[in-house]
């Protein structure tokens, strides 16, 4: 019999939130699974917004001498598009995977600090809303020597200095108004969110592993989470300080990055890319992790060269801190530095290549199941290789000085970010769909989504290679008829709309399958890692008792042995084993203590935007509101226990019901 455990309802001033369903249960939740789901939806929302911005850009460029957008609007759109996709879409979608999967993959009941986890999520939401509030409150005047004031509409009242905010262009003189302050402070807030989650994940991986889960038995996705967390922890402080400087320059008249006061615009570039290059690995390593789970599962073979993949991941993360100036070949860095950074950039391609060979080795000779997650994983390999190769061409300095700031670069980073990171993410979304919702997605629609996306993607970004080599410059809102760039630009725009359709198919599939999809079998993919050894959707308590791990791919080895030739043979009694696991997973036989929900992470998080506004508008009342929220949040947090003291009542709950999130 299961003991149900109920928190005591009333405790000093605030009563603790206690609902288990409904909106408030989500808002106050500290459950890593729910937080993961919320991260996913919020990030997907921003992915759609960023996508719309991209479509506006593409409509403008579909014809020469077009005036669909003004120059001011175009600048705002490409800046917001890049910033949104990187900080509000891909990073948080990765965080969604980390949150949901990490505890499951290491056999834990939650992350190390559940409330801190909720805090990260709410700070991310607060930061995203803060950044986007620029469309309501922000202003962007005409820059000195640039376009005219009357061209600046509401749509243009957004940050407009590019996602890398180069100085002095992003300084007051060339970006007047408050929009760029929204950018600098917005990123600052978002950075805090990622930093906090990095501490949390590192600690979780080090300290929450279940019995027998040695480091070298952890799934590759967990390893990549580990590497990304280190990258975040060590690169975000750098950009945080640099953004401080920007805010001081714009608000308090300092000149850190402005030559007129003895400052140094190139210092901004160094600090930005010291963060920025690790950042691109922050974006791609989660996808590496995902495909490293998907490929072996659907090739029915273990991952080829597990230690090599793990070490290559850390190799990339480590060398990633030593290549930043390859983004600055066209700036005033010395020839020796150029040679050095060119070389280190070529070297970083080596561990990347190792991974690719490992993946190819994994599918080589395997029995492939070509379903949607697998197709996306294979698509990922193909597209990522193309992007990686153009990356290596940029490492050759004389070539790069021709390519930089052209569409060739735009092609490169979309092949690695969209073809790489986002394809990997879609692979993962389909792969773990049954785990999260307990239902299967629709395979036909999934495949339509994949093929539309693969075609749309290449039609969109393939031609950018030659457009760039023909000299089309990046971040420019018109090109002249005589340049003969019109034809391919039109094709590119058509490709972008194919991508939009692909996304609609994905959404339709998701909405339909969430409600009406077939019920997922216990272990739909005959998978390898332990998150599949518990019922789907995952019960609130994850594992009814702590699993004990005996090997890498533990769940697989519970199901399969080997014959004399080393071929996998299903053990006798596996079906019974699965039935037993499902039964046990739904009916824990011990008391389970879960961390109680809390309001305080939310309160604390929403103090930050007020501080941001206070800096921009130099307003004491706003600052006070911010500080008071921080104090209430911090004090309440500090004095409330992680778990309420429990009263145990002897009832048998319907475990199946309490384990779903309807």
């Amino acid at each position: 019999m299961t003991k149900i455990i109920e928190p005591k309802k009333q405790r000093n001033i605030f009563s603790r939130p206690s609902s288990e369903t409904g909106v408030w249960s989500w808002i106050t939740t500290v459950d890593h699974k729910r937080i993961g789901i919320m991260y996913g939806y919020a990030a997907f929302f921003f992915l759609l917004v960023g996508g719309l911005e991209a479509l506006l850009l593409r409509i403008q460029l579909s014809q020469p001498d077009n005036n669909f957008l003004s120059a001011a609007e175009y600048n705002a759109m490409f800046t917001m598009h890049g910033t949104t996709m990187i900080f509000l879409a891909i990073m948080p979608i990765s965080a969604a995977f980390f949150n949901y999967l990490l505890p499951l993959q290491i056999g834990a009941r939650d992350v190390a600090f559940p409330r801190l986890n909720a805090l990260s999520f709410w700070i991310f939401v607060a930061g995203g809303l803060f950044l986007y509030s620029t469309f309501l409150f922000g202003t962007a005047g005409a820059p000195e020597g640039g376009y005219l004031d009357e061209e600046v509409s509401r749509l243009a009242s957004a940050p407009n200095g590019g996602w890398f905010g180069y100085q002095p262009n992003a300084g007051l003189r060339y970006s007047p108004g408050t929009a760029m302050d929204y950018w600098a402070i917005g990123l600052q807030i978002l950075g805090i969110a990622s930093l906090v989650s990095a501490f949390n994940f590192i600690t979780t991986i080090l300290n929450m592993r279940t019995k027998g889960m040695r480091l070298m038995r952890m799934p590759v996705f967990t390893w990549m989470t580990f590497a990304v967390s280190f990258l975040l922890a060590f690169s975000l402080p750098i950009i945080a300080i640099a953004l401080f400087f920007v805010t001081f320059d714009r608000q308090f008249g300092t000149t850190f990055f402005l030559t007129e006061g003895g400052g140094d615009p190139v210092l901004w570039q160094h600090l930005f890319w010291l963060f920025g290059h690790p950042e691109v690995y922050i974006l791609i390593l989660p996808a590496f992790g995902i495909v490293s789970e998907v490929l072996p599962t659907f090739s029915r073979k273990p991952l080829f060269g597990y230690p090599a993949i793990v070490f290559a991941g850390f190799g990339i993360a480590f060398i990633g801190f030593g290549v930043w100036a390859h983004h600055m070949f066209a700036s005033a860095i010395s020839p020796v530095a150029q040679a050095g950074f060119g070389l280190s950039t070529m070297i970083i391609a080596v561990p990347t290549g190792v991974k690719i060979f490992n993946w190819l080795g994994t599918i080589w000779g395997g029995k492939l199941t070509l379903n949607t997650p697998m197709l996306f994983a294979l698509g990922f390999i193909g597209m990522f290789v193309i992007g990686g190769l153009s990356g290596v061409t940029h490492s050759v300095v004389p070539a790069d000085t021709q390519q930089t700031d052209t569409y060739y670069i735009v092609a490169h980073f979309h092949y690695v970010l969209f073809g790489g990171a986002l394809f990997g993410i879609f692979s993962g979304l389909y792969f773990w769909f049954p785990k999260v919702w307990g239902r299967m997605y629709n395979e036909t629609m999934g495949k339509i989504h994949f093929w539309l996306m693969l075609i749309g993607f290449n039609v969109t970004f393939g031609p950018m290679h030659w457009l760039g080599l023909q000299g089309q410059v990046r971040r420019t809102w018109v090109y002249a008829e005589e340049t003969n760039l019109g034809f391919w630009n039109l094709i590119v725009t058509i490709g972008a709309f194919i991508l939009a359709v692909a996304i609609l198919v994905f959404m339709a599939n998701w909405i339909y399958s969430r409600r009406k999809g077939e019920k997922a079998p216990f272990d739909p993919w005959d998978a390898r890692t332990i998150e599949w050894s518990i019922p789907s959707p995952t019960p609130v308590w994850n594992f009814s008792k702590a699993p004990e791990i005996k090997s890498l791919d533990d769940f697989w080895h519970q199901k399969y042995g080997e014959d004399e030739d080393g071929r996998a043979v299903r053990r006798e009694g596996t079906d019974e084993l699965l039935l037993k696991l499902e039964e046990e997973g739904l009916n824990p036989d011990e008391e389970i203590h879960l961390p109680s929900p809390s309001y305080f992470p939310l309160i604390l998080a929403f103090g930050l935007p007020f501080l941001g506004y206070a800096v921009i508008y130099k307003s004491i009342p706003l600052a006070l509101i911010g500080v008071i929220l921080l104090l209430i949040g911090g004090f309440g947090w500090g004095t409330e226990p992680l778990e309420e003291e429990f009263e145990t009542s002897e009832e048998t709950p319907d475990a199946k019901e309490s384990s779903t999130y309807e």
């Binding site: 922890a233 945080a240 401080f244 006061g261 140094d264 011990e590 778990e643």
Partner: protein
């Protein structure tokens, strides 16, 4: 923590919250590292106007640095007192630490206003800007530390007093406090002495 018995964790053998705290401190090193690097980069450059060396008062800053150092000592004493469960002494030493920290802060505010009056302002030149942002960022850390110490002291007024293994933990605040002190030693050397 109460779920510890039901579920195995902490394979590293380090208490989870402490581990998290160490990781937090290691990123703090990067925050200060970036600031100090910027300071050093700009220090070697030419800049117009008044310099730190024209306005500072080394003896004064040395005294306030000494005060901050002493606060590390009282922090250790508070920790030791709590280990022997001497609630009374713990509270006294906590309060002493907070007070010493506050004295340091007051010294910094006084120093900043002095500099300001002498024309060494935030936007005077690139050196003054880095100086204020760097030392101000540290001052903010001291301020947060003082608030935490006072909060802990407040919690200590309760009937059952403080203990070494509960939520608002003296041990973390002590770690943080020592860290902030050590950073100051580095800053004092880099900014004032060399």
């Amino acid at each position: 923590m109460s779920d510890a018995h039901a579920y195995p964790h902490e394979p590293t053998g380090v208490e989870t919250r402490k581990l998290g705290f160490w990781i937090f401190l290691s990123t703090e090193i990067l925050f200060f590292g970036t600031l100090i690097t910027t300071f050093l980069i700009f220090k070697g450059r030419d800049f117009p106007g008044i310099k730190l060396t024209d306005v500072y008062d080394i003896p004064f800053t040395s005294v306030s640095s000494f005060v901050l150092l002493m606060s590390s000592l009282t922090m250790v004493l508070a920790h030791n007192a709590l280990e022997t469960d001497d609630q009374e002494k713990t509270r006294v030493w906590l309060l002493a630490t907070a007070m010493l920290g506050a004295v340091f802060l007051a010294g910094q505010i006084y120093e900043f206003t002095e500099f300001y009056h002498k024309g060494f302002e935030l936007s005077t030149n690139i050196f003054s800007s880095t100086f204020y942002v760097l030392t101000g960022f540290h001052g903010l850390h001291v301020f947060v530390g003082v608030v935490l110490l006072l909060a802990l002291w407040g919690v200590g007024q309760r009937q059952r007093g403080l203990s070494l293994n509960e939520g608002m933990n003296l041990e973390f605040i002590a770690l943080y406090w020592h860290f902030v002190d050590i950073v100051w030693i580095v800053l004092f050397t880099v900014v004032y002495l060399i």
